[in-house]
Symmetry: C2
C-alpha cells in the first residue's frame, strides 16, 4: 500500500517561494497577482494491508520526521484506495 | 477555483532526498528498507470558473514553469471539485 504525506506551510505563514513563483507566472503572461503556495509531497511504500494501521503509521511519520508542527501542517492520503475514502487532515 | 500541480521525479530517476528520508525513517524505528519518493506541490488560485479551462491553464503553468520535463512528471488536480473528477496526469 502506498501512502502520501503532503506538507505545506500553515495559513498565515509567509510563503516566499510561492510569492516568487506567482510573480514568475505573472511575467510569463498568466495574469496578475496569482496566489501560489508551495509544499512538499512524500510518497511512501507501506507494508500494512489495513488502511487504518497504514494511516496511523503515516501520521506517526509526518509528526516525527516529515513536518515541522510549528510552521507546517500535513495531509495524509492512501494512494490507490477509493478517492477521499481514507483522508486524514491535521490543521492544528 | 484552486488548482494543484504535483511535480515528482520520473520513475527511474534516482531520488537522493527520498533515500535519505527512508533511512531516517528506518533509524526512527519504522522498519527497514522504506521506499520514499519526494515531490513538490503548488497550490494555485485560478480565476477560471470552468474546470476544463482551469485545467488547461494549470497544464500550461506546469509545462512552462513548474516542472522540468526531462526529469520530472506532473499531476494536475482541481481542489474542491468532486474527488478524482478532474484529474489530468502526464507521464511522458
Amino acid at each position: 500500500m502506498k501512502g502520501r504525506v503532503t506538507v505545506s506551510l500553515r495559513t498565515g505563514v509567509l510563503d516566499v517561494e510561492g510569492k516568487a513563483i506567482g510573480k514568475a507566472l505573472t511575467s510569463l503572461g498568466f495574469g496578475g497577482d496569482i496566489d501560489v503556495r508551495v509544499g512538499r509531497v512524500f510518497e511512501i511504500e507501506l507494508p500494512e494491508s489495513s488502511p487504518e494501521v497504514a494511516l496511523s503509521r503515516l501520521k506517526d511519520m509526518a509528526v516525527k520526521l516529515l513536518s515541522n508542527p510549528i510552521m507546517e501542517s500535513y495531509r495524509l492520503e492512501l494512494v490507490g484506495s477509493a478517492p477521499g475514502a481514507a483522508l486524514g487532515t491535521t490543521g492544528t
